[in-house]
Symmetry: D2
Subunit: 130 residues, 4 copies
């Protein structure tokens, strides 16, 4: 997907701040979960990140045109799934790669729960596509 | 160190946002580099994160009193060093653990550079203390 | 109150970003509403900003020691109240002055509501002190 | 212009945070100054906000499609200019209106400076269009 870097994403070094990369990946992930429509609506209500790994390859700076951020499902387990990401700078060079582990939770208690069959099915299909 | 969570660190789920944990670790790391005084002043001018790994153990919410964030040097190489972190929630339970890899850069070119002898010495001493 | 500026509050110009001043004022306001305890607990659940005016007097940069942010009630009406703020830089010089208008809302509908007698009483006492 | 709200722009009340509106206006303003090309390049290097007034009319929440943010020049003086903004929610209803005062500065000293003739000319033309 195309993702708009903001001028305010840059820190005092004049580059997009390292923590903000996770925000941009979160936006990509959220947009894709929204694409899941009714099947994934339960994840929009409650889903927590349990782990991130991220490698920074090149600095990114603000420009008016958006950058490319890819996002895909890496694996689906009983009560969690993995998401992979790659961000490219404005010249199309890889700027960061990351993987996240996410778990659905039931609100309001906030307890981890199993993925529902419709969620597994959608995520599995998404993984197969990737 | 003690670290103040902000109300605005919480996202729409009512918990401190996952990306914000990296910001809190960055604040802890920056404060400690500042403690290095003249020996580490070159790192304040230019130092990039090349990798983060973070495990989220418990949600953190806003309260008026600060939380505890520990931060230490894990290893020192020729052109990079590792930092470990642990964050505790307001009840003193572990909320997140992370490790980062950092590399000094020379500005304005932004090229990675070797650690200076005084930087290595300070970071090594810091690691030994941890 | 004392307020910790974060390194990440600075933008690419190397100063605390103008929008972040409102965040710092929000933290001061939230801390003070929390001080209201049970009397103001309804405001913590739902309260919206309807207006801000802010004058920037001096840039603020990151340092390890906190800065001073004053916050007080300017006036109390039927369904809103005003809050005034002054922020000082690390040398104690005025860095920004602002006023906000806030209105309590009832959740989940999000409709504006009148201030409760206990809220008016507390806010009035707070205004008198200022 | 069209502006993408981020999921992470929402705070614990589930609405775009009040301070974040200034960030969205900043992005609109920065994009438009970039449109000024060489004539306004000096403003990109150094330009400070001296005042904001903002009225919040309706809450904004995250959706995948962008919202509309208008931005124009209100007046041009010797050493400052005014910018007006209007933000619309996803249904096209006015969500916020604001005005800002901006002053160019000369770096690295950070001293306010007069607008250059080419800057005045461009900003005046922009104002006339609005």
């Amino acid at each position: 997907m195309r993702c708009q870097v903001r001028w305010s994403d840059m820190d005092a070094f004049g580059h997009v701040n390292n923590a903000r990369f996770l925000t941009l990946f979160e936006e990509a992930r959220t947009a894709l979960i929204l694409d899941g429509g009714e099947a994934l609506s339960g994840l929009l209500d409650g889903c927590v990140v349990t782990r991130h790994e991220i490698d920074y390859l090149r600095p990114v700076t603000y420009r008016r045109d958006p950058i490319r951020v890819d996002c895909w499902v890496t694996d689906v387990r009983h009560a969690s799934f993995g998401v992979g990401y790659e961000m490219f700078d404005h010249d199309g060079e890889p700027a960061a790669r990351a993987v996240s582990r996410l778990s659905p939770i039931s609100l309001p208690a906030g307890r981890p729960r199993r993925l529902l069959p419709k969620e597994r099915e959608f995520l599995d299909a998404w993984r197969a596509e990737s």
